[in-house]
Protein backbone atom coordinates (compact mmCIF):
# COMPACT_ATOMS: atom_id res chain seq x y z
CA UNK A 1 0.00 0.00 0.00
CA UNK A 2 2.87 2.35 0.81
CA UNK A 3 4.42 1.68 -2.59
CA UNK A 4 1.08 2.35 -4.25
CA UNK A 5 0.61 5.71 -2.52
CA UNK A 6 4.15 6.78 -3.37
CA UNK A 7 3.59 5.91 -7.05
CA UNK A 8 0.21 7.66 -7.03
CA UNK A 9 1.82 10.80 -5.57
CA UNK A 10 4.41 10.89 -8.34
CA UNK A 11 1.76 10.21 -11.00
CA UNK A 12 -0.60 12.99 -9.92
CA UNK A 13 2.18 15.56 -9.41
CA UNK A 14 3.69 14.75 -12.81
CA UNK A 15 0.28 15.19 -14.48
CA UNK A 16 -0.09 18.66 -12.92
CA UNK A 17 3.47 19.57 -13.89
CA UNK A 18 2.75 18.35 -17.43
CA UNK A 19 -0.31 20.60 -17.73
CA UNK A 20 1.67 23.61 -16.47
CA UNK A 21 4.60 23.11 -18.86
CA UNK A 22 2.65 22.12 -21.95
CA UNK A 23 0.19 25.04 -21.79
CA UNK A 24 3.22 27.36 -22.18
CA UNK A 25 4.19 25.82 -25.52
CA UNK A 26 3.00 28.14 -28.34
CA UNK A 27 0.81 26.71 -31.16
CA UNK A 28 3.74 27.50 -33.47
CA UNK A 29 5.58 24.50 -32.01
CA UNK A 30 2.70 22.11 -31.42
CA UNK A 31 3.82 19.61 -34.06
CA UNK A 32 7.38 19.30 -32.66
CA UNK A 33 5.83 19.17 -29.19
CA UNK A 34 3.75 16.22 -30.25
CA UNK A 35 6.59 14.30 -31.88
CA UNK A 36 8.96 15.17 -29.02
CA UNK A 37 6.48 14.09 -26.35
CA UNK A 38 5.89 10.99 -28.43
CA UNK A 39 9.60 10.19 -28.29
CA UNK A 40 9.53 10.60 -24.50
CA UNK A 41 6.66 8.11 -24.28
CA UNK A 42 9.17 5.61 -25.69
CA UNK A 43 10.51 5.52 -22.11
CA UNK A 44 8.75 2.16 -22.09
CA UNK A 45 12.10 1.01 -23.49
CA UNK A 46 13.49 1.16 -19.96
CA UNK A 47 10.80 -1.27 -18.85
CA UNK A 48 11.56 -3.73 -21.64
CA UNK A 49 15.34 -4.07 -21.38
CA UNK A 50 15.54 -6.21 -18.27
CA UNK A 51 13.00 -8.76 -19.51
CA UNK A 52 14.62 -8.91 -22.95
CA UNK A 53 18.00 -9.70 -21.40
CA UNK A 54 16.91 -12.21 -18.77
CA UNK A 55 16.99 -15.25 -21.10
CA UNK A 56 14.12 -16.89 -19.28
CA UNK A 57 12.09 -18.57 -22.01
CA UNK A 58 11.64 -18.30 -25.76
CA UNK A 59 8.34 -16.51 -25.24
CA UNK A 60 9.73 -13.79 -22.97
CA UNK A 61 12.76 -13.37 -25.24
CA UNK A 62 10.62 -12.91 -28.36
CA UNK A 63 8.28 -10.52 -26.57
CA UNK A 64 11.27 -8.69 -25.11
CA UNK A 65 12.90 -8.32 -28.50
CA UNK A 66 9.70 -6.98 -30.09
CA UNK A 67 9.15 -4.50 -27.26
CA UNK A 68 12.76 -3.25 -27.33
CA UNK A 69 12.72 -2.84 -31.13
CA UNK A 70 9.40 -0.97 -31.23
CA UNK A 71 10.22 1.26 -28.26
CA UNK A 72 13.64 2.08 -29.77
CA UNK A 73 12.05 2.96 -33.11
CA UNK A 74 9.69 5.25 -31.19
CA UNK A 75 12.51 6.92 -29.26
CA UNK A 76 15.09 7.31 -32.04
CA UNK A 77 12.58 8.25 -34.74
CA UNK A 78 10.71 10.64 -32.45
CA UNK A 79 13.71 12.63 -31.27
CA UNK A 80 15.28 12.70 -34.73
CA UNK A 81 12.21 13.92 -36.56
CA UNK A 82 11.64 16.55 -33.86
CA UNK A 83 15.20 17.75 -34.30
CA UNK A 84 14.70 18.00 -38.07
CA UNK A 85 11.61 20.14 -37.60
CA UNK A 86 13.06 22.40 -34.92
CA UNK A 87 16.08 23.14 -37.11
CA UNK A 88 13.68 24.83 -39.53
CA UNK A 89 12.51 27.23 -36.86
CA UNK A 90 16.01 28.58 -36.37
CA UNK A 91 16.33 32.15 -37.58
CA UNK A 92 18.00 32.23 -40.95
CA UNK A 93 19.50 35.69 -40.58
Amino acid sequence: MEVFVAALTIFILALFLGFEIITKVPPLLHTPLMSGANAISGITLVGTLVTAGSQLSTLTTVLGFLAVAMATANVVGGFLVTHRMLQMFRRKD
Binding site: L28, T31, T48, G53, T60, A69, M70, A73, N74
Partner: protein, 466 residues
Protein backbone atom coordinates in the same frame (compact mmCIF):
# COMPACT_ATOMS: atom_id res chain seq x y z
CA UNK B 1 24.81 -0.33 -8.69
CA UNK B 2 22.40 -0.07 -5.78
CA UNK B 3 18.72 0.51 -6.48
CA UNK B 4 18.90 3.87 -4.72
CA UNK B 5 21.67 5.04 -7.03
CA UNK B 6 19.78 3.80 -10.10
CA UNK B 7 16.72 5.71 -8.92
CA UNK B 8 18.78 8.86 -8.54
CA UNK B 9 19.86 8.56 -12.16
CA UNK B 10 16.21 8.00 -13.14
CA UNK B 11 15.38 11.20 -11.28
CA UNK B 12 18.03 13.04 -13.30
CA UNK B 13 16.50 11.62 -16.51
CA UNK B 14 13.04 12.79 -15.44
CA UNK B 15 14.39 16.29 -14.75
CA UNK B 16 15.95 16.33 -18.23
CA UNK B 17 12.56 15.39 -19.77
CA UNK B 18 10.88 18.23 -17.89
CA UNK B 19 13.54 20.78 -18.89
CA UNK B 20 13.35 19.46 -22.45
CA UNK B 21 9.60 20.03 -22.72
CA UNK B 22 10.04 23.42 -21.06
CA UNK B 23 12.53 24.33 -23.78
CA UNK B 24 9.79 23.91 -26.38
CA UNK B 25 8.13 27.09 -25.11
CA UNK B 26 10.24 29.15 -27.54
CA UNK B 27 11.81 28.41 -30.96
CA UNK B 28 15.15 29.74 -29.67
CA UNK B 29 15.41 27.17 -26.90
CA UNK B 30 13.52 24.34 -28.60
CA UNK B 31 16.45 22.57 -30.29
CA UNK B 32 18.36 22.48 -27.01
CA UNK B 33 15.23 21.26 -25.23
CA UNK B 34 14.85 18.33 -27.58
CA UNK B 35 18.52 17.44 -27.11
CA UNK B 36 18.03 17.49 -23.32
CA UNK B 37 15.10 15.14 -23.69
CA UNK B 38 17.14 12.71 -25.76
CA UNK B 39 20.03 12.95 -23.26
CA UNK B 40 17.58 12.03 -20.49
CA UNK B 41 16.46 9.01 -22.50
CA UNK B 42 20.03 7.90 -23.13
CA UNK B 43 20.84 8.23 -19.43
CA UNK B 44 17.80 6.18 -18.41
CA UNK B 45 18.63 3.43 -20.92
CA UNK B 46 22.33 3.20 -19.99
CA UNK B 47 21.57 3.03 -16.27
CA UNK B 48 19.00 0.29 -16.87
CA UNK B 49 21.52 -1.76 -18.84
CA UNK B 50 23.66 -2.01 -15.68
CA UNK B 51 20.91 -4.08 -14.02
CA UNK B 52 22.33 -7.39 -12.78
CA UNK B 53 19.27 -9.38 -13.81
CA UNK B 54 20.39 -8.96 -17.42
CA UNK B 55 22.36 -12.09 -18.30
CA UNK B 56 22.68 -11.63 -22.05
CA UNK B 57 22.91 -8.51 -24.17
CA UNK B 58 22.44 -10.18 -27.56
CA UNK B 59 18.66 -9.79 -27.78
CA UNK B 60 18.79 -6.29 -26.34
CA UNK B 61 21.43 -5.22 -28.83
CA UNK B 62 19.50 -6.78 -31.72
CA UNK B 63 16.34 -4.93 -30.63
CA UNK B 64 18.18 -1.62 -30.25
CA UNK B 65 19.81 -1.94 -33.68
CA UNK B 66 16.66 -3.02 -35.53
CA UNK B 67 14.48 -0.41 -33.82
CA UNK B 68 17.11 2.31 -34.17
CA UNK B 69 17.48 1.64 -37.88
CA UNK B 70 13.73 1.61 -38.53
CA UNK B 71 13.12 4.79 -36.53
CA UNK B 72 16.19 6.56 -37.86
CA UNK B 73 15.51 5.83 -41.52
CA UNK B 74 11.83 6.75 -41.27
CA UNK B 75 12.60 10.01 -39.45
CA UNK B 76 15.38 11.04 -41.82
CA UNK B 77 13.36 10.46 -44.98
CA UNK B 78 9.83 11.57 -44.13
CA UNK B 79 8.47 14.62 -45.97
CA UNK B 80 7.12 17.42 -43.79
CA UNK B 81 3.66 17.06 -45.38
CA UNK B 82 3.62 13.45 -44.13
CA UNK B 83 4.46 14.40 -40.54
CA UNK B 84 1.01 13.45 -39.16
CA UNK B 85 1.24 9.87 -40.42
CA UNK B 86 4.83 9.67 -39.17
CA UNK B 87 3.79 10.70 -35.67
CA UNK B 88 0.91 8.21 -35.88
CA UNK B 89 3.33 5.39 -36.72
CA UNK B 90 5.76 6.23 -33.90
CA UNK B 91 2.80 6.59 -31.56
CA UNK B 92 1.62 3.14 -32.58
CA UNK B 93 5.08 1.69 -31.94
CA UNK B 94 5.07 3.23 -28.47
CA UNK B 95 1.64 1.82 -27.65
CA UNK B 96 2.53 -1.63 -28.97
CA UNK B 97 5.83 -1.60 -27.07
CA UNK B 98 3.97 -0.88 -23.81
CA UNK B 99 1.42 -3.65 -24.39
CA UNK B 100 4.07 -6.20 -25.39
CA UNK B 101 6.41 -5.12 -22.57
CA UNK B 102 3.70 -5.69 -20.00
CA UNK B 103 2.91 -9.05 -21.61
CA UNK B 104 6.57 -10.03 -21.32
CA UNK B 105 6.68 -8.98 -17.66
CA UNK B 106 3.53 -10.99 -16.92
CA UNK B 107 4.96 -14.08 -18.64
CA UNK B 108 8.20 -13.60 -16.73
CA UNK B 109 6.36 -13.39 -13.40
CA UNK B 110 4.41 -16.55 -14.29
CA UNK B 111 7.53 -18.46 -15.38
CA UNK B 112 9.42 -17.49 -12.26
CA UNK B 113 6.41 -18.13 -10.06
CA UNK B 114 6.58 -14.68 -8.52
CA UNK B 115 3.51 -15.14 -6.31
CA UNK B 116 4.01 -11.90 -4.43
CA UNK B 117 3.80 -9.82 -7.60
CA UNK B 118 0.99 -11.77 -9.19
CA UNK B 119 -1.19 -11.40 -6.12
CA UNK B 120 -0.58 -7.65 -5.88
CA UNK B 121 -3.52 -5.69 -7.21
CA UNK B 122 -1.25 -2.87 -8.33
CA UNK B 123 0.67 -5.28 -10.56
CA UNK B 124 -2.32 -7.00 -12.15
CA UNK B 125 -4.56 -3.95 -12.53
CA UNK B 126 -1.75 -1.83 -13.98
CA UNK B 127 -0.75 -4.68 -16.34
CA UNK B 128 -4.29 -5.00 -17.66
CA UNK B 129 -4.75 -1.22 -17.96
CA UNK B 130 -1.51 -0.45 -19.77
CA UNK B 131 -1.91 -3.54 -21.96
CA UNK B 132 -5.39 -2.44 -23.00
CA UNK B 133 -4.48 1.22 -23.58
CA UNK B 134 -1.33 0.18 -25.44
CA UNK B 135 -3.22 -2.17 -27.75
CA UNK B 136 -5.90 0.43 -28.58
CA UNK B 137 -3.14 2.98 -29.22
CA UNK B 138 -1.33 0.60 -31.57
CA UNK B 139 -4.17 -0.43 -33.84
CA UNK B 140 -5.87 2.98 -33.68
CA UNK B 141 -2.64 4.70 -34.71
CA UNK B 142 -2.12 2.25 -37.58
CA UNK B 143 -5.61 2.98 -38.95
CA UNK B 144 -4.95 6.72 -38.57
CA UNK B 145 -1.71 6.18 -40.51
CA UNK B 146 -3.41 4.31 -43.37
CA UNK B 147 -6.09 7.01 -43.59
CA UNK B 148 -3.62 9.90 -43.62
CA UNK B 149 -1.39 8.10 -46.11
CA UNK B 150 -4.41 7.53 -48.38
CA UNK B 151 -4.03 3.73 -48.27
CA UNK B 152 -7.67 3.36 -47.29
CA UNK B 153 -10.62 5.66 -47.82
CA UNK B 154 -10.21 8.82 -45.78
CA UNK B 155 -13.93 9.31 -45.51
CA UNK B 156 -15.56 8.01 -42.36
CA UNK B 157 -16.58 4.37 -42.76
CA UNK B 158 -19.83 4.01 -40.87
CA UNK B 159 -20.94 0.41 -40.44
CA UNK B 160 -24.36 -0.33 -38.95
CA UNK B 161 -24.46 -1.10 -35.25
CA UNK B 162 -20.93 0.16 -34.70
CA UNK B 163 -21.74 1.72 -31.34
CA UNK B 164 -23.12 -1.60 -30.08
CA UNK B 165 -20.13 -3.56 -31.40
CA UNK B 166 -17.66 -1.07 -29.87
CA UNK B 167 -19.50 -1.13 -26.55
CA UNK B 168 -19.40 -4.94 -26.56
CA UNK B 169 -15.65 -4.90 -27.30
CA UNK B 170 -15.07 -2.38 -24.50
CA UNK B 171 -17.09 -4.38 -22.00
CA UNK B 172 -15.38 -7.54 -23.25
CA UNK B 173 -11.89 -6.09 -22.75
CA UNK B 174 -12.79 -4.82 -19.30
CA UNK B 175 -14.31 -8.19 -18.42
CA UNK B 176 -11.21 -10.07 -19.57
CA UNK B 177 -9.09 -7.61 -17.59
CA UNK B 178 -11.21 -8.35 -14.54
CA UNK B 179 -10.73 -12.08 -15.15
CA UNK B 180 -6.96 -11.61 -15.29
CA UNK B 181 -6.92 -9.56 -12.08
CA UNK B 182 -9.08 -12.15 -10.30
CA UNK B 183 -7.05 -15.13 -11.55
CA UNK B 184 -3.53 -14.21 -12.69
CA UNK B 185 -2.39 -17.86 -12.65
CA UNK B 186 -2.77 -17.94 -16.45
CA UNK B 187 -1.98 -15.28 -19.02
CA UNK B 188 -4.71 -16.46 -21.43
CA UNK B 189 -7.17 -13.82 -20.22
CA UNK B 190 -4.49 -11.14 -20.63
CA UNK B 191 -3.78 -12.00 -24.27
CA UNK B 192 -7.49 -12.35 -25.11
CA UNK B 193 -7.96 -8.87 -23.64
CA UNK B 194 -5.11 -7.57 -25.85
CA UNK B 195 -6.84 -9.09 -28.90
CA UNK B 196 -10.21 -7.53 -28.04
CA UNK B 197 -8.62 -4.13 -27.35
CA UNK B 198 -6.74 -4.31 -30.68
CA UNK B 199 -10.00 -4.81 -32.58
CA UNK B 200 -11.57 -1.99 -30.56
CA UNK B 201 -8.74 0.36 -31.59
CA UNK B 202 -9.42 -0.38 -35.27
CA UNK B 203 -13.17 0.04 -35.06
CA UNK B 204 -12.91 3.27 -33.04
CA UNK B 205 -10.82 5.08 -35.67
CA UNK B 206 -12.35 3.65 -38.88
CA UNK B 207 -15.53 5.79 -38.59
CA UNK B 208 -13.55 9.04 -38.19
CA UNK B 209 -12.90 11.26 -41.23
CA UNK B 210 -9.49 12.43 -42.45
CA UNK B 211 -9.88 16.05 -41.36
CA UNK B 212 -10.56 14.96 -37.78
CA UNK B 213 -7.29 13.04 -37.61
CA UNK B 214 -5.47 15.86 -35.72
CA UNK B 215 -7.76 15.18 -32.78
CA UNK B 216 -7.34 11.42 -33.07
CA UNK B 217 -3.55 11.61 -33.20
CA UNK B 218 -3.42 13.98 -30.23
CA UNK B 219 -5.67 11.67 -28.25
CA UNK B 220 -3.66 8.57 -29.16
CA UNK B 221 -0.51 10.50 -28.20
CA UNK B 222 -2.03 10.99 -24.79
CA UNK B 223 -2.89 7.26 -24.60
CA UNK B 224 0.65 6.19 -25.48
CA UNK B 225 1.88 8.29 -22.56
CA UNK B 226 -0.66 6.77 -20.20
CA UNK B 227 0.29 3.27 -21.38
CA UNK B 228 3.95 4.03 -20.57
CA UNK B 229 2.95 5.37 -17.17
CA UNK B 230 1.01 2.11 -16.67
CA UNK B 231 4.19 0.12 -17.34
CA UNK B 232 5.77 2.28 -14.63
CA UNK B 233 3.03 1.21 -12.20
CA UNK B 234 3.65 -2.43 -13.12
CA UNK B 235 7.40 -2.18 -12.51
CA UNK B 236 7.26 0.42 -9.72
CA UNK B 237 9.51 2.60 -11.84
CA UNK B 238 9.24 6.33 -11.16
CA UNK B 239 10.84 7.63 -14.39
CA UNK B 240 8.28 5.69 -16.44
CA UNK B 241 5.45 7.13 -14.38
CA UNK B 242 6.75 10.70 -14.66
CA UNK B 243 7.58 10.60 -18.38
CA UNK B 244 4.35 8.79 -19.19
CA UNK B 245 2.15 11.25 -17.36
CA UNK B 246 3.95 14.25 -18.90
CA UNK B 247 3.10 12.86 -22.34
CA UNK B 248 -0.41 11.97 -21.24
CA UNK B 249 -0.96 15.59 -20.18
CA UNK B 250 0.54 16.96 -23.41
CA UNK B 251 -1.70 14.81 -25.59
CA UNK B 252 -4.74 15.71 -23.55
CA UNK B 253 -4.09 19.46 -23.82
CA UNK B 254 -3.62 19.26 -27.58
CA UNK B 255 -6.78 17.17 -27.93
CA UNK B 256 -8.91 19.72 -26.10
CA UNK B 257 -7.31 22.65 -28.00
CA UNK B 258 -8.18 20.98 -31.31
CA UNK B 259 -11.75 20.28 -30.23
CA UNK B 260 -12.20 23.87 -29.07
CA UNK B 261 -10.81 25.17 -32.38
CA UNK B 262 -13.61 23.29 -34.16
CA UNK B 263 -16.24 24.04 -31.50
CA UNK B 264 -16.96 20.33 -31.20
CA UNK B 265 -16.91 17.98 -28.27
CA UNK B 266 -14.54 15.03 -28.19
CA UNK B 267 -17.61 12.75 -28.23
CA UNK B 268 -18.79 14.41 -31.44
CA UNK B 269 -15.40 13.99 -33.12
CA UNK B 270 -15.06 10.37 -32.06
CA UNK B 271 -18.57 9.06 -32.65
CA UNK B 272 -20.60 11.35 -34.93
CA UNK B 273 -18.95 10.35 -38.23
CA UNK B 274 -18.86 13.97 -39.43
CA UNK B 275 -17.96 14.35 -43.10
CA UNK B 276 -19.66 11.15 -44.26
CA UNK B 277 -22.30 12.98 -46.30
CA UNK B 278 -21.97 16.12 -48.35
CA UNK B 279 -25.05 18.30 -48.73
CA UNK B 280 -25.34 20.20 -51.97
CA UNK B 281 -28.70 21.84 -51.34
CA UNK B 282 -28.00 25.53 -50.76
CA UNK B 283 -24.97 25.99 -52.99
CA UNK B 284 -26.95 27.23 -56.00
CA UNK B 285 -28.72 30.07 -54.13
CA UNK B 286 -25.51 31.28 -52.56
CA UNK B 287 -23.25 31.21 -55.59
CA UNK B 288 -25.43 31.85 -58.69
CA UNK B 289 -24.57 35.12 -60.38
CA UNK B 290 -22.40 36.34 -57.51
CA UNK B 291 -19.07 34.66 -58.19
CA UNK B 292 -16.44 37.00 -59.67
CA UNK B 293 -13.52 35.26 -61.30
CA UNK B 294 -10.22 37.13 -61.65
CA UNK B 295 -7.02 36.51 -63.59
CA UNK B 296 -3.53 36.39 -62.13
CA UNK B 297 -2.86 39.81 -63.75
CA UNK B 298 -5.90 41.35 -62.01
CA UNK B 299 -4.76 40.04 -58.64
CA UNK B 300 -1.15 41.12 -59.27
CA UNK B 301 -2.46 44.67 -59.74
CA UNK B 302 -4.43 44.47 -56.49
CA UNK B 303 -1.33 43.26 -54.65
CA UNK B 304 0.80 45.96 -56.24
CA UNK B 305 -1.38 48.68 -54.77
CA UNK B 306 -1.63 47.11 -51.33
CA UNK B 307 0.17 48.20 -48.20
CA UNK B 308 -0.75 45.19 -46.07
CA UNK B 309 -1.38 41.65 -47.33
CA UNK B 310 -2.39 38.66 -45.20
CA UNK B 311 -2.00 35.13 -46.53
CA UNK B 312 -4.26 32.39 -45.18
CA UNK B 313 -2.71 29.01 -45.99
CA UNK B 314 -4.76 25.81 -45.87
CA UNK B 315 -3.99 22.18 -46.36
CA UNK B 316 -4.70 22.58 -50.10
CA UNK B 317 -1.61 24.80 -50.37
CA UNK B 318 0.57 22.09 -48.82
CA UNK B 319 -0.90 19.38 -51.05
CA UNK B 320 -0.03 21.47 -54.12
CA UNK B 321 3.48 22.04 -52.64
CA UNK B 322 2.94 25.75 -53.23
CA UNK B 323 4.67 26.97 -50.05
CA UNK B 324 8.03 27.59 -51.75
CA UNK B 325 6.50 29.77 -54.46
CA UNK B 326 4.44 31.52 -51.79
CA UNK B 327 7.71 32.27 -50.00
CA UNK B 328 9.11 33.86 -53.20
CA UNK B 329 5.90 35.84 -53.60
CA UNK B 330 6.22 37.06 -50.01
CA UNK B 331 9.77 38.24 -50.61
CA UNK B 332 8.80 40.07 -53.80
CA UNK B 333 5.95 41.83 -51.98
CA UNK B 334 8.24 42.81 -49.12
CA UNK B 335 10.78 44.21 -51.56
CA UNK B 336 7.96 46.51 -52.71
CA UNK B 337 7.38 47.63 -49.09
CA UNK B 338 4.21 45.61 -48.66
CA UNK B 339 3.68 44.26 -45.14
CA UNK B 340 2.98 40.50 -45.37
CA UNK B 341 1.79 38.24 -42.58
CA UNK B 342 0.36 34.72 -42.39
CA UNK B 343 -2.83 33.85 -40.52
CA UNK B 344 -2.68 30.35 -39.05
CA UNK B 345 -5.93 28.74 -37.91
CA UNK B 346 -5.43 26.20 -35.09
CA UNK B 347 -6.71 23.34 -37.28
CA UNK B 348 -4.85 24.35 -40.46
CA UNK B 349 -3.04 21.29 -41.75
CA UNK B 350 -3.43 17.75 -40.56
CA UNK B 351 -2.11 17.93 -37.01
CA UNK B 352 -1.71 20.65 -34.39
CA UNK B 353 0.86 23.18 -35.59
CA UNK B 354 1.38 21.38 -38.91
CA UNK B 355 1.02 24.50 -41.10
CA UNK B 356 3.77 26.30 -39.14
CA UNK B 357 6.20 23.46 -39.87
CA UNK B 358 5.33 23.47 -43.58
CA UNK B 359 5.90 27.23 -43.84
CA UNK B 360 9.07 27.12 -41.75
CA UNK B 361 10.39 24.46 -44.12
CA UNK B 362 9.89 26.94 -46.96
CA UNK B 363 12.06 29.44 -45.02
CA UNK B 364 9.21 31.73 -44.04
CA UNK B 365 10.33 33.35 -40.73
CA UNK B 366 8.27 32.16 -37.78
CA UNK B 367 7.54 35.67 -36.52
CA UNK B 368 5.36 36.19 -39.60
CA UNK B 369 3.16 33.23 -38.67
CA UNK B 370 0.41 34.64 -36.47
CA UNK B 371 -2.19 32.80 -34.43
CA UNK B 372 -5.87 33.41 -35.07
CA UNK B 373 -6.51 35.50 -31.96
CA UNK B 374 -3.52 37.72 -32.66
CA UNK B 375 -4.23 38.42 -36.32
CA UNK B 376 -8.03 38.63 -36.32
CA UNK B 377 -8.26 42.27 -35.11
CA UNK B 378 -5.92 43.36 -37.94
CA UNK B 379 -8.04 42.22 -40.91
CA UNK B 380 -9.86 45.59 -40.98
CA UNK B 381 -6.55 47.27 -41.77
CA UNK B 382 -5.66 44.68 -44.41
CA UNK B 383 -5.86 45.63 -48.08
CA UNK B 384 -5.74 42.17 -49.64
CA UNK B 385 -6.21 38.78 -47.99
CA UNK B 386 -5.01 35.87 -50.06
CA UNK B 387 -6.72 32.60 -49.07
CA UNK B 388 -4.76 29.68 -50.52
CA UNK B 389 -6.34 26.26 -50.26
CA UNK B 390 -8.36 26.97 -47.12
CA UNK B 391 -12.15 26.87 -46.91
CA UNK B 392 -14.04 25.99 -43.73
CA UNK B 393 -11.75 28.06 -41.47
CA UNK B 394 -12.79 31.27 -43.29
CA UNK B 395 -16.49 30.43 -43.71
CA UNK B 396 -18.64 33.21 -42.17
CA UNK B 397 -21.49 30.69 -41.74
CA UNK B 398 -19.62 29.54 -38.62
CA UNK B 399 -20.81 32.75 -36.93
CA UNK B 400 -24.48 31.75 -37.37
CA UNK B 401 -26.28 30.32 -34.41
CA UNK B 402 -27.87 27.54 -36.47
CA UNK B 403 -27.29 23.99 -35.23
CA UNK B 404 -27.95 22.59 -38.74
CA UNK B 405 -24.64 24.13 -39.86
CA UNK B 406 -21.89 21.63 -39.03
CA UNK B 407 -19.31 24.32 -38.25
CA UNK B 408 -21.64 26.65 -36.28
CA UNK B 409 -19.74 28.32 -33.44
CA UNK B 410 -16.33 27.32 -34.77
CA UNK B 411 -13.87 30.22 -34.35
CA UNK B 412 -12.84 31.46 -37.80
CA UNK B 413 -10.37 33.89 -39.35
CA UNK B 414 -12.26 37.15 -40.01
CA UNK B 415 -10.91 37.53 -43.54
CA UNK B 416 -14.21 38.96 -44.82
CA UNK B 417 -13.40 42.16 -42.90
CA UNK B 418 -10.41 42.97 -45.07
CA UNK B 419 -10.80 45.41 -47.97
CA UNK B 420 -10.59 42.70 -50.60
CA UNK B 421 -10.31 38.93 -50.50
CA UNK B 422 -8.74 36.69 -53.13
CA UNK B 423 -9.60 32.99 -52.95
CA UNK B 424 -7.14 30.69 -54.68
CA UNK B 425 -8.94 27.40 -55.22
CA UNK B 426 -9.44 24.75 -57.88
CA UNK B 427 -13.24 24.95 -57.92
CA UNK B 428 -16.21 25.95 -55.79
CA UNK B 429 -16.34 22.50 -54.20
CA UNK B 430 -17.06 22.50 -50.47
CA UNK B 431 -14.47 21.86 -47.78
CA UNK B 432 -14.49 19.06 -45.25
CA UNK B 433 -17.65 20.32 -43.55
CA UNK B 434 -19.49 19.83 -46.85
CA UNK B 435 -21.20 23.22 -46.90
CA UNK B 436 -21.13 26.21 -49.25
CA UNK B 437 -19.06 29.25 -48.31
CA UNK B 438 -20.82 32.64 -48.67
CA UNK B 439 -17.42 34.34 -48.52
CA UNK B 440 -16.85 33.22 -52.13
CA UNK B 441 -19.89 35.23 -53.22
CA UNK B 442 -19.17 38.32 -51.09
CA UNK B 443 -18.89 41.75 -52.78
CA UNK B 444 -15.24 42.19 -51.79
CA UNK B 445 -14.20 38.68 -52.89
CA UNK B 446 -12.74 37.51 -56.19
CA UNK B 447 -11.97 33.91 -57.10
CA UNK B 448 -8.65 32.95 -58.67
CA UNK B 449 -9.28 29.43 -59.92
CA UNK B 450 -6.47 26.95 -60.41
CA UNK B 451 -3.85 24.77 -58.77
CA UNK B 452 -2.29 26.66 -55.86
CA UNK B 453 1.29 26.24 -57.05
CA UNK B 454 0.51 27.21 -60.66
CA UNK B 455 -1.50 30.23 -59.52
CA UNK B 456 1.29 31.38 -57.21
CA UNK B 457 3.79 31.08 -60.07
CA UNK B 458 1.48 33.03 -62.40
CA UNK B 459 1.09 35.73 -59.74
CA UNK B 460 4.83 35.94 -59.29
CA UNK B 461 5.38 36.26 -63.04
CA UNK B 462 2.64 38.88 -63.41
CA UNK B 463 4.03 40.96 -60.54
CA UNK B 464 7.54 40.87 -61.91
CA UNK B 465 6.25 42.16 -65.24
CA UNK B 466 4.04 44.85 -63.71
Amino acid sequence: MSQALINLFYLAAAVLFILGLKGLSHPRTAVRGNLMGSAGMLLAVVVTLLDQRIVSFQIILAGLVVGGLIGGILAARVAMTSMPQMVAVFNGFGGAASAVAVGAVVEEALARGMIEQLTSAQFTVASAASGMIGAVTFTGSMIAFTKLQGLILEKPFLFPGRHVVNLMLLVGSLGLSGWFVADPSSSLSFWLMIAAASVLGILLVVPIGGADMPVVIALLNSYSGLAAAGVGWVLNNSVLIIAGSLVGAAGFILTSLMCRAMNRSLTNVMFAGVGATISKSDEEDIYTGKIKSASAEDVAMMLDGARRVVIVPGYGMAVAQAQYVVHDLTQLLESKDVEVEFAIHPVAGRMPGHMNVLLAEASIPYDKLLEMDVINPSFQQTDVTLVIGANDVVNPLAREDDPSIPIAGMPILDVDQSRSVVIVKRSLSPGFAGIANPLFAADNTVMLFGDAKQVAMDLLAAMKQG
